[in-house]
């Protein structure tokens, strides 16, 4: 039986792009606008473009918080993208401190304003970056394969996730010499700071791997 993938629509995201990317890789995908529909899904995708406090407020207002935490607790695959990934952590520090979904312990912090030499960094960080597998090796049997180091992925962000446990870092990347978590993972809870739906065939491959997980 084909697995049902639901993309959460809470009003803050590039929903169309991510929906089309999943459809393109052959997924049975639907857009979830009501919290009660979450439990009927095999896999959930939480996209997002916008600010952490706005995103969390909308998830609360629409009643998505408890069902999303329940989905992860049930051990079902969960993918967060960009702001969707950031909200998987415990706390965000964009504008004001805001509690997140706390599926991965850690904070979401602003990218450093200055580089190591004291020169101002260009923020938002926009563009293509190569991923690296962390030293503790976290890619085996996940949607990221060894091929993920060959081609870069597309990033657009001003904040980054800092998991409390390095074991939750799924992939690393550099921003002006500053190493940050480009992707995070806690069991079947996956999050990418980059946009797989905008990363060409390399990104589609990651989504395909998530679909067939």
């Amino acid at each position: 039986m084909t697995q049902k993938i639901g993309i959460i629509d809470y009003g803050l995201s590039n929903l169309l792009s991510i929906y089309r990317a999943f459809a393109h890789v052959g997924a049975e995908v639907s857009i979830i606008t009501e919290a009660k529909s979450v439990s009927g899904m095999d896999k959930i995708v939480l996209p997002g473009v916008g600010s952490f406090p706005d995103g969390m407020k909308l998830l609360h207002d629409l009643g998505f918080v408890a069902p999303l935490i329940g989905h992860a607790a049930a051990g079902k695959p969960f993918l967060g993208v960009c702001l969707g990934m950031q909200m998987m952590l415990s706390r965000g520090f964009e504008m004001e401190e805001t509690p997140g979904l706390n599926l991965i312990p850690g904070d979401v912090l602003p990218l450093p304003a200055l580089d190591a030499a004291g020169k101002p960094n260009r923020i938002p960080h926009v563009g293509w970056e190569f991923l690296r597998e962390p030293e503790h090796g976290r890619w085996k049997e996940t949607p990221l394969s060894e091929h993920a180091e060959v081609h870069p992925f597309y990033f657009v962000h001003s904040y980054y996730a800092r998991p409390e446990h390095t074991a939750h870092v799924w992939a690393e990347a550099d921003f002006a010499g500053f190493k940050f978590a480009a992707a995070v993972r806690n069991g079947l809870v996956f999050g990418t700071q980059f946009h797989p739906e905008k990363s060409g065939s390399q990104g589609l491959e990651l989504l395909h791997q998530f679909v067939t997980l």
Binding site: L16, S17, A21, H24, P124, V126, E129, S201
Partner: protein, 250 residues
């Protein structure tokens, strides 16, 4: 730093792809913009920019439809612009599948538009398009597809735009646009050294070497139009040349 980018720029009139010189004398190309985009995506383009040069006159219905059709099968970032005068205009384009919106005339007439888009969707969504024309020692910022002089210096305007929330500057040299004589490197150097956001150099690419020169002058991305549309050079040709010149690219 992020890898440098090669961007295909497609100027559009109604449902057709067009190309001019000095932002004038537009000529139609044989195929639809969607067809060109699909080809560029297959060849490894890093990003797409659509500029509707008549949206101010005819509205944006055609552009939103082209964006919608393009993003159905093109999975790299897409910027759309032309006639964006309000937050609602920007919302239209983003809802059609664009990742970023480019503003030019609308931002010069009402700079608050930059803050509105940036606050609502984030600075990364807001590309400020500046049409630059050499004037003595410096450059003036033009608008209305290069027809009107705002009387403002390009550098001042770029700095103000960033202050207001621009996430990227699309810097078009009217003097070089459509000429294939190479970019205005002094312009790129001047602007990219004065602003903290990525600068996309546009106008003048006629060979892969021109791209390398723009990157070395401080551009984060180069926009290519004529040279790709007419097959003067290829995306892989530009990338190979730049990589051999030591410039990191996707």
């Amino acid at each position: 730093m992020a890898l440098n980018r090669i961007i295909a720029r497609l100027d559009i009139k109604q449902e057709r792809l067009i190309k001019g010189m000095h932002l004038e004398g537009w000529r139609f190309l044989p195929d639809t913009p969607q067809k060109y985009c699909a080809d560029y995506y297959e060849q490894g383009i890093d990003e797409i920019i659509y500029v509707d040069v008549v949206a101010s006159l005819y509205g944006r219905d055609k552009l939103t439809e082209i964006v919608r059709q393009t993003t159905d099968h093109v999975f790299v970032p897409l910027t759309a612009g032309g006639g964006v005068r309000s937050l609602a205009d920007a919302t239209d384009l983003l809802r059609s599948g664009a990742d970023k919106v480019a503003v030019c005339t609308g931002a010069i007439k009402d700079p608050q538009l930059i803050s509105d888009i940036s606050r609502r969707y984030g600075a990364q969504c807001c590309v400020v398009s500046i049409q630059a024309k050499k004037n003595g020692k410096g450059w003036d910022a033009y608008y209305d597809i290069g027809r009107e002089n705002s009387g403002r210096s390009v550098v001042d305007w770029a700095q103000d735009a960033v202050e207001l929330g621009a996430g990227e500057i699309l810097l078009t040299s009217i003097d070089r646009e459509g000429t294939r004589k190479g970019f205005d490197l002094a312009l790129i150097e001047e602007v990219s050294s004065k602003v903290s956001v990525p600068v996309i150099a546009s106008g003048g690419l006629g060979s892969p070497e021109h791209a390398a020169q723009a990157f070395k002058s401080g551009a984060d991305a180069v926009a290519v139009a004529y040279a790709l549309h007419y097959g003067i050079t290829s995306i892989q040709g530009i990338k190979e040349f730049c990589r051999n010149a030591g410039i990191p690219l996707r």
